[in-house]
């Protein structure tokens, strides 16, 4: 461990020397950060080092956050187009499952940490950030309130042609929210395999089924 830390410190020092002629540039700091990241983490449980690899969307959005500047339109559209291509539509054409199981998934914040068993079921983490039903008062506020989600969007029959647009939009949001908003903070639930198709259908039902408590 000590050896590893020393190597990291040496590489930081070398990079700093290289940048020493003038004050280090932002690109120099990016390079040092990448070195520090490589030397600072270790795989544990199911949390492998591969998780440190950023795709374009994460790399570009993180850089924009560091700069304190939103992405330019062209870059944002490029990210959205790439993420839209990842959408997998339900194989049987049915978008809604069981809202009761959707509620259970929405309540659970478990899964995919190094202390979770790899084979255990993942939760959807929904209530951590969103209000959904009136009954659950312990909800987070990082995302917008989803209370009356379907009702406010005029969904009375989710299977009707009139509801099709809202239903498909919601599927995309759950599968990969970056398809519509390049730097959305919302996890890419389907794309990253947090929930499977059947579970996403259940969460869809929680949001869109008129019988769901979310729409009461």
């Amino acid at each position: 461990m000590k050896k590893f830390l020393k190597i990291t410190s040496v590489s930081v020092a070398v990079l700093m020397l290289a940048a020493c002629a003038s004050s280090p540039s932002s690109a120099d700091y990016d390079k040092i950060t990448s070195q520090v990241t490589q030397g600072s983490f270790q795989a544990k449980g199911q949390a492998s080092l591969e998780r440190l690899q950023q795709d374009d969307a994460n790399r570009l959005c993180s850089a924009a956050d560091v700069a304190g500047q939103p992405l330019d339109d062209k870059t944002a559209q490029m990210i959205q187009a790439a993420n839209l291509k990842t959408i997998k539509w339900p194989a049987d054409g049915k978008f809604l499952g069981d809202w009761k199981n959707g509620e259970k998934l929405a309540q659970s914040g478990r899964g995919l940490t190094w202390s979770d068993k790899a084979e255990s079921a993942n939760g959807g983490n929904c209530y951590n950030c969103h209000q959904i039903t009136k009954e659950e008062i312990s909800y987070g506020t990082i995302g917008p309130s989803l209370y009356n989600y379907g009702k406010l969007r005029g969904v009375t029959d989710p299977n009707s042609p009139a509801a099709r647009g809202v239903v498909e939009y919601t599927w995309v949001k759950l599968w990969n929210a970056r398809a519509y908003s390049a730097c959305s903070q919302m996890p890419r639930v389907g794309h990253n395999g947090i929930l499977g198709e059947a579970e996403i259908k259940d969460v869809m039902a929680l949001l869109l089924d008129p019988a769901s408590p979310a729409n009461k």
């Binding site: 590893f4 410190s9 990241t37 998780r51 560091v66 990253n192």
Partner: protein
């Protein structure tokens, strides 16, 4: 004795929370938590860690059978008051920016003759064996700066670099959930469930965020240092594990510590 008093107070606070109507529950919860913290102030079990740390500080230990009394945390050998609120900082003797916990390992190596490698290994097994001693000593050292304001130095080029690296790590989205530190701690006034989240991109106020650690956590009976706090943040972010004392953890502490300039440290704090 102290602990049973704490437990009774926790029960009283819990009863207070349960008794409230649902409509008022959210505001009331915040008030309830504040009251609960106030009640706990008199019997913060962190004092037990501090007392143990004080004893270890003056105890002859290690292969050299020496004490830590000459350990230099940046204000000179043996000077503890005000040291914590200026850490992490650059140390010329190691050529590194170090936080309190990695600096303690340096002192245990140079003064007491322990092998740093063994101590890093022990530290990874948090709260057990020699880690329990290091946590206690850390608590003792931080408590000497209780009530003081954060004032991390940024005069050295390496300190500036660590701030810039910490900033980049703070916003780095990755893993299966695309989480970064900033997902939860990037803006004001947000919550996860009912837990309020400090905005760590700026000074979130006295005794909030960086200025509220190390802290005793009632929910698991552990004293959590900043290294442990960051370790568990990364666990919840679904990242791989940050190594104890790694440059990433120190860079993040520099970023948060510099942002907390002039915030009062309430160490050792008490948390749910």
């Amino acid at each position: 004795m102290k602990k049973s008093m704490v437990q009774r107070q926790v029960l009283a606070a819990a009863a207070l929370l349960v008794g409230m109507g649902a409509a008022l529950a959210q505001d009331a919860t915040a008030t309830g938590i504040a009251q609960y913290r106030e009640m706990l102030q008199d019997g913060n079990p962190a004092e037990l860690f501090e007392m143990k740390g004080e004893k270890l500080w003056t105890q002859n230990r290690g292969p050299k059978n020496a004490t830590l009394e000459k350990c230099d945390f940046g204000k000179g050998p043996g000077v503890l008051k005000g040291a914590f609120v200026e850490l992490p900082r650059y140390f010329a003797d190691t050529g590194r920016v170090q936080d309190l916990e990695s600096r303690l390992i340096t002192c245990m190596e140079t003064l007491q003759g322990y092998k740093a490698e063994d101590l890093y290994k022990a530290a990874a097994n948090y709260g057990k064996g020699e880690s329990a001693n290091m946590v206690a000593i850390t608590t003792y050292v931080v408590t000497a700066s209780k009530g003081m304001d954060f004032a991390l130095p940024q005069g050295n080029e390496k300190e500036k670099t660590m701030y810039e690296v910490g900033k980049r790590l703070f916003f780095a989205r990755s893993g299966p959930h695309d989480f970064a530190c900033s997902t939860c701690h990037g803006v004001d006034g947000q919550r996860i469930r009912l837990q309020e989240l400090p905005n760590l991109t700026k000074n979130p106020g006295d005794g909030v965020g960086f200025a509220a650690w190390p802290a005793y956590r009632v929910s698991n009976g552990q004293l959590w240092t900043m290294q442990k706090r960051l370790n568990d943040c990364y666990r919840q972010q679904r990242f791989p594990e940050p190594k104890f004392g790694s440059d990433a953890t120190i860079a993040l502490a520099v970023y948060m510590g510099v942002n907390s300039k002039s915030a009062e440290s309430i160490v050792p704090a008490i948390k749910r």
